[in-house]
Structures are given as C-alpha cells and as structure tokens.
C-alpha cells in the first residue's frame, strides 16, 4: 500500500501534538510550589481582580517584604478545592492559598495545610468567632482575610406603603406580622435561596440557629420550627415558589425588581444594592424569640500549604501574615466589600461608612459552619439538611419527617 503524503504529514502532526502536550503538562507541573528561581505561588478565588488591581499589588508588596518574588493565580471559587487537592497530590501545592472557610477543615484533614502553630502564622488579631471555622483538634489552619454574612435587605418604599416600621422587627412573630401587612398591601414578601446546594444550607442556617437548633441534631423541635417557618411563608404566599431553585444571585435579581419587601442576602450585594434604583435598608436576621440570630460566616482564609522545604513554609507564613495584617487588610476588605476580621479595622470601616455598622454587628454574632469542632463532619450534615429543607418546601415530606431522615443520613455518615 502506498501512503499519500497527506497521511504522513498527519501522522507527524499527531506525534508533534503529543510531544507538545507532554511538554505543556511538565511545565504546568511547576506552576505551584517554589520553582527553581525562587518564585512563590499564591492562589486565590478572586478572578474579578486582574493584574493591575489593588489586591495584586498587595500580594506583590508582601512578597517583596518577605524577600521573594510571587506569582499570583486566580481561580473560580468552586474550582479551587479540586485544583488544590490535585496539586497537593502531585506535590505542587501553592505556597500561599486563599480559600473559602468551610473548605479549610477539609484541606487540613487531607494534610494539605500546615497548622499556624508550625509555621508562625498569627491569627490572634482576628475575632475568635471567625477563627473557629479553621480550628480542628486544637490546631488552627490559617487566618481570615475578612468576613461576610447574611442579613435582611428591605425595600423602604414597599415597607412604607404597607405601613411597616423595620425597627419593629425583633423576632419571628414581628417579622411574620410585617410580611402579612406587605402581602395585604399587594406586594411580595420575602425572597431567599433554598437551592439544593451548600448555598441553600448557608441561607437556612440563620433561621436554624436562630431557633436554637444545633447541627448535631437536625431533627430537634427547634429545627422543625425553622423549616416550618420557611414553609409557612411559601404556603401563605409571602415567599415565591421560585426560592426552591434560587441561588443567592437569582434571589437578589428578584429583590432588584422592586416588588419584594425583604431579601435575605449577603454583604457582597451592597454594591448592587446601591445600583438597584430604590432606597433600601438592612436589618439583622431576627432569632425566634428576639435578638440577632447567628448567621453563618462567609469569606476566605489565608493558609499555608505543606511543602517539602520547611524554610519556604516559614517565608509563606510571612507573606500570609502580611496579607492579613491590619495595615494591608483594610484596602483588601474594602475592595471585596467584606467586614474585616480585626476589631480595630472594623472600627475604621464603620467610621468611613456608617451603614456598615449593621454588618459588623452581624459578623460579630456570626458562627463558622465548620466550628464546634464539626470540621469535615459539616459537609455530611449540610447535604442532608438542604435535601430536607427542599423536601419540606415542595411538600413531598412533612418537615418533621424530612428532618428525621436528614438526621439519620447525617448520623450514618459518622
């Protein structure tokens, strides 16, 4: 058989493609970890900040102070956990890793992260209620770079038209009464996110904890009360049915239509709230019997992944300390619209922007999801919980039955 020149060329091209591929993979292998020329890799979940941003400059300065050159890589936050696990498996974990707080305990359990006690990373300036998210068996893995949490945004015009004074909302009963008035005035009551992912549990926790329930007992009467509260809002038409599929972004879009009185959403929507085109206000989420309900903390931790070279871990800790030090973190938290984890910086933030006071208060009473030494048990509790909330809201199970099943599933996962 005679081969045409085309097939030959094609074969050569295939071989060449194969070689290029292998060349690529060996060069990306050096992306993480300390490279031969002493560059330090910093990974973060802030792709919204480009190379010219304040955050990129902060990283560069901190590297210079520690006497090394840093190379920053930004990933999408949902992508980062898997990227880090794979990099650690290949021995090319980054030197400094900024990662979402509930993931810290998973990475610590995997042995990817070094404890602060071993590297000289210092979390003493950060509020203890925020640091608990990274505590596991008496050790702490990382320092919070800032925090966000949930509160209730309200639409001033809708509340005024319905004759509701937001200051009167102190507990579930007064919130219910407010929602009834709004519904009577022909407007929509409240929107939130009850989607079947971690986001759904995140949004449910202020009501769950606000009822006095604990993550170690999903079927307690308090937990049932929290699910029944949400369900009653759907049944009475205070909340739209779409909350079952809402992410926090789509829930915000509903609120931004101006039809809704309340939206449960986070600190990160403040920028959008100013652009919404109507007057808004923020109140803390009330607990069942009065007072501010503990909301879950969001926000990232700066951590130091384990390396073969101990000296590089110490240098990485210096960079991480610099990134979270009160002098540098104010600019970062402002750019992220986060509340700082450091009390003195929180005061500076409130002095500059008085409307942040309610968020600072919310962060002060917030709780880490992986706290109470739950650590890697949390994901195994959170999943049955969001499933139960969805089952109750869609009326496929009664709230008490759904939560009983959830508790059984969470307990069987150890």
């Amino acid at each position: 058989m005679k081969r045409s020149p085309i097939t030959q060329r094609f074969a050569v091209a295939l071989v060449a493609a194969g070689l290029t591929l292998s060349a690529c993979s060996s060069s990306t292998g050096d992306a993480g970890g300390t490279t031969a020329d002493g560059t330090f890799a910093v990974w973060d979940p802030y792709p919204q900040f480009d190379g010219g941003s304040q955050w990129a400059k902060v990283i560069e300065n901190c590297g210079t102070q520690a006497g090394v050159k840093v190379e920053r890589q930004a990933y999408d936050t949902s992508d980062l956990t898997n990227k880090v696990l794979l990099a650690a498996q290949q021995g090319v974990a980054p030197n400094v890793l900024v990662v979402d707080n509930p993931v810290v305990s998973t990475l610590a359990e995997a042995g990817v992260l070094k404890a602060n006690q071993d590297t000289g990373l210092d979390a003493s300036k950060a509020s203890p209620n925020l640091v608990t998210a990274a505590e596991s068996d008496g050790k702490t893995y990382g320092v919070p770079i800032g925090a966000n949490t949930l509160a209730l945004y309200y639409n001033k015009a809708v509340l005024t038209a319905a004759g509701v004074d937001p200051a009167s909302i102190k507990d579930w009963a007064s919130l219910d009464a407010a929602l009834a008035k709004v519904a009577a005035a022909g407007k929509k009551g409240i929107t939130f996110s009850a989607i079947g992912t971690e986001e759904g549990t995140f949004q449910f926790l202020p009501w769950f904890w606000g009822a006095g329930a604990q993550l170690t007992d999903l079927s307690s009467p308090q937990a049932v009360a929290a699910v029944e509260l949400w369900k009653s809002w759907l049944d009475k038409g205070y909340a739209p049915n779409s909350v079952i599929g809402n992410t926090q972004t789509t829930s915000w879009q509903e609120f931004a239509t101006g039809e809704y009185a309340f939206a449960e959403n986070g600190t990160w929507q403040l920028g959008n709230a100013k652009k919404a085109g109507f007057e808004y206000g923020v109140i803390p989420i009330p607990s069942r019997t009065g007072g501010v309900a503990p909301a879950p903390t969001g926000g990232e931790f700066v951590t130091v992944p384990a390396q073969d070279d101990k000296d590089s871990e110490a240098t990485a800790a210096k960079i991480a300390n610099c990134l979270t030090s009160p002098d540098t973190v104010l600019a970062t938290d402002t750019a992220l619209t986060y509340v700082s984890a450091v009390a003195s910086v929180q005061d500076q933030q409130v002095a500059a922007q008085p409307e942040l006071q309610v968020w600072v208060d919310a962060v002060k009473s917030a709780k880490g999801r992986t706290g109470d030494n739950l650590g890697t048990r949390y994901p195994r509790i959170s999943q049955p919980l969001w499933t139960a909330v969805q089952a109750a809201l869609t009326a496929s199970k009664a709230p008490a039955d759904a939560l009983k099943d959830a508790q059984a599933a969470a307990a069987s996962a150890k």
Partner: protein, 292 residues
C-alpha cells in the same frame, strides 16, 4: 521486518492517544471505585483496597433507585421524542421545497448553541415567578406550573429541554439517510399504487433501519451522560427529584466540600456499563441485519 517496524511507527500516535485518553482514565476510575479514598489518602496515597464496598454503598443508597429510574425515564422519553420529531422533520425536508435548506439550517441552532446558554434560557423561561411560559399559560387562564421547583414537574422539564436540544442531531442524520434511499424504489411503489403511508411503512422505514439504529445508539450514549442541562436547570432537585446517575456521580464527587471519590467513581462506572450494554446490543442487531 523493516516494513513491520514502519507499520508500528505509524501506529504509535494512535496507540499513544488511545492509551492516554481512553485506557488511563478508565483504569483510574476503576481504581478509584475499588478503594476507600478519603481526602487524606487522595493526596497522600495509600488508600486501602476495599473491593466492591463502594458499589454496595451506592446500590444500598435510596438515591440509587431514584437516579436509575430517572435516568431510564429521561433517556427513553428523550429518545422516543427526539427520534420521532427528528424523523418527521427529515421526511418533511426531504421533499426539498423552496427555502427548505435555509429552514433546515435554522433548525440546527439548538445544536450549535453552547449548552450553558440553552439550559440557562430554558431555566429562565420555565421560572415559576417570572418565566415566559407561565406568563403565556396565565394569559390563557391556566394556573402557573412550578416547572423547576415541583418534584412532579422537574424531571419532565429537563426532559423537554433535552428533547429540544437533541432534535437537530436526529434531523441531520435521518435526513442524510433518506437521501441515500434510491428514488426508483419509491417510484416503483407509486406505480404499484401504494399510498404514501404504505410507502413510508413498507419502504422508507425498513430501508432507513441501519441509519435509525446508529442514530438511536448514539442518542442513547449522549443522553445517558447528559449532565449540564440538568445541573444548570435544577441541580438534580428539588430534593433529588430530577437526579440522574450522571448528576448523582458529580454530586458525590464535587457537589460538596468533602468529595467522596470512591462512590462517585462507582456510579460513573455503572453508567459506562449501561452504555457498553447498549453498544453490545447494537453490534448484535447489526450482525443480524447483515445476516438477513
């Protein structure tokens, strides 16, 4: 001898390609599914061999029955409608009237759109509060349907979206199959006085059978592993009502901050087995066709 060596040299790229992109991932998935991986052993290595424990866990999970049933329903209903509508349209376009080429090109749009775009558009159209579908239903006096947020409707909604996406593929393949049927056969049957229904049922359909089987088999493999549409539209919910094996496998492995690689890989392998079974059935059908 030298000729053999040259032969092997030319085979190397394809063999390397097959090993790298087929054999290696397949072996890795099987390995993942028969070990007890925790996040620690995933990073540090040394996960103990546990045989079929992950499979037992998966089969015993109540989600397995729902996911399997949903996968079968989703696949069968999708295939029936995709094939039926695709065939009807192919017959329609094979008459080649004016503008038929342009119209046919327009029907390809669903296929050309990125899945994230079409799935997000469907999710937006079917939204229970602000969706255009409920607005239209409301205009003719029908109560709103919670397409994506009711356990009774979520699977139907994602199936409808998937049918819409799959029609162009069926249309294109069946259309080209129709072009290959010689016109003389139809002319002869017309001369013998066959009605158009008889002509379709006794001539077109049997002659189209080889093309139909391959279309259905390819459709089956595509549909079994559909993930994006369901994940974007419902995340497999509410509370698992639109979970299929594909979304469940993803959920176990990546849907949660604590990945469960073992069970996730086990579900993935069950899916591969299902597709393989379908392939074997196809080979057998084809052999019978050739024999007859």
């Amino acid at each position: 001898m030298r000729k053999n060596l040259v032969g092997w040299a030319f085979l190397t790229p394809i063999v390397a390609y097959l090993l790298l992109s087929y054999a290696y991932p397949l072996v890795t998935t099987i390995d993942l599914s028969i070990r007890d991986y925790t996040v620690r052993s995933f990073v540090r290595g040394g996960a103990p061999l546990t045989g079929l424990t992950n499979y037992v866990t998966v089969f015993a999970d109540p989600t397995f029955r729902t996911a399997l049933l949903n996968t079968v329903l989703f696949t069968v209903v999708s295939l029936v409608f995709q094939y039926g509508i695709g065939l009807a349209m192919a017959l329609f376009f094979s008459r080649s009237f004016r503008l038929s080429a342009t119209l046919r090109a327009l029907f390809l749009v669903p296929w050309l759109l990125p899945l994230i775009v079409s799935a997000s558009t469907w999710a937006w159209m079917l939204n229970s509060e602000a969706g255009v579908v409920n607005a239209v239903l409301g205009a003719v006096g029908i109560d709103k349907v919670n397409w994506l947020t009711s356990p009774d409707w979520s699977l139907a909604s994602v199936t409808i979206a998937n049918i819409w996406i799959g029609i162009p593929f069926n249309l294109v393949v069946l259309y080209s199959g129709l072009q290959n049927i010689p016109t003389e056969v139809h002319e002869a049957s017309a001369l013998d006085g066959a009605s158009s229904w008889q002509s379709f049922w006794n001539i077109t359909f049997p002659l189209l059978r080889p093309v139909s089987t391959i279309t259905l088999l390819l459709g089956l493999v595509y549909t079994l592993k559909v993930f994006d549409i369901i994940w974007i539209m419902t995340r497999g919910g509410p509370s698992g009502s639109s979970t299929t094996l594909a979304t469940w496998s993803y959920e176990l492995g990546f849907g949660n901050t604590l990945p469960r690689f073992g069970p996730s890989a086990a579900v993935g392998n069950v899916l591969i087995l299902l597709a393989l079974l379908a392939g074997l059935v196809y080979v057998r059908v084809q052999r019978n066709q050739e024999a007859s």
